[in-house]
Symmetry: D2
């Protein structure tokens, strides 16, 4: 199973009055990890949008173990946790510089038509992409 | 069981290139709902911070059924879903103007010391607040 | 000259590690003020977008005099500062509950085609809207 | 005069319903450029905060020439535009991959006590930092 690793430096704008990264911000970091995983597997989310589709999140879950502070650099680890041919579940783990797991989570995505938001079969519309995800799933 | 209802108008800044509200943004709307629920139950989160404590999220989960677009107004419904004396679970449901449920979710919170981030017993530090949450839990 | 007034409660997500509202966040508050001014003058920005146009910001300026903290409510005052038939300049002033001016600024906008981003003549495409802005300008 | 260059990839969360980067987001990109300029000149903003000071923005100005879209990478160029011993003005220019200038701007900063928000003399509290900024100013 391939695990993508992306470095993210805490932006001041991402902190809140608790003087740590705002908990909602990790949704964005997950997205950065996901974008990079897709790129490293050979595809581009921007290309999917150009061809008339978008891939909305239908479910997301985050668990917080330790906060990040301004000045820190995070490593976002992302992988294919599950894949059904229609739905893809991405798994995430965010570590600090000491290697401690600070945030974990997962998100479930479908692919829909850009205009109508009607679901399409990922397998059928993106056969090569499907193949790679299928392989990732089996290598778990 | 008391359910708080808060109106939220979609801000342009909250939309993304899918031309709907960015999925991470609902974490903020949950927070607005939670703040109002607490206020309507007779307390103020800002007061908790002034007395030296913060209440970080340790777990959050969101499910997306329908998107919101710019120009729409949402109703965020929030309630006490569970309470253990240490951890509080808030439940959320976001409806559009037609009354359709668009987003649901829950978040789990503890109370910790502002400086050390060490957990404190909510029950002991905030006895009146505890009483109200206990009552809410039992009225479910 | 008409001045729109909008109440904005500080959201926790809007604060940063300085424990005040993040300076970039006031751009969003300006937008809320602007949206309401337009509404109170009888128009809807969302309608403009539906008819195929968008109104990007081409210049924005903000001056910070005093910070806002979580728990505070702001009043965003917005007016038409200048209008050329092509460009509209909105003026802003954000006051705290004590009536102190905390943030001031202005933003300049054009109207462009949604797809091509080519400028259109506001006066020609939105004659009624033009009339109102012209009147606002003259009443200064 | 030293000009810092920082690459920034557009995050999906940074786009809005106009399908371009939200105009308020560039305030954050300016901040990323500024943080890197400071680092490359030999200092760390995080260290300033640890020593009891913060450096709020007192004035910011942005001009928009061309939008950025999801999938693009920006180069944020940042330099010391002016320095008085008390106030520092940073200059910014954001270019796209074709080398076109898309956003320009400047921001003015002071240094204040973290708790009281009372201004301190940068020159006195941070003499080495002062020296470098003075030199940058003269090399213009």
């Amino acid at each position: 199973m391939f695990i993508s690793e992306t470095q993210v430096e805490v932006r001041y704008a991402e902190t809140d009055a608790m003087q740590v990264v705002y908990h909602g911000q990790y949704v964005v970091w997950f997205e950065i990890g996901r974008t990079n995983l897709i790129k490293e597997l050979g595809f581009h989310y921007a290309d999917m949008e150009k061809s008339g589709y978008v891939s909305p999140v239908i479910d997301i879950q985050l668990s917080y173990k330790q906060p990040f502070r301004y000045g820190e650099t995070a490593t976002v680890r992302t992988w294919i946790q599950d894949y059904t041919g229609i739905r893809t579940t991405y798994g995430y783990e965010i570590k600090n510089a000491k290697g401690e797991v600070c945030v974990t989570g997962s998100s479930v995505h479908t692919v829909v038509d850009k205009e109508t938001f009607r679901p399409v079969k990922f397998k059928k519309e993106f056969p090569e992409w499907h193949e790679v995800y299928e392989k990732e799933k089996q290598s778990k």
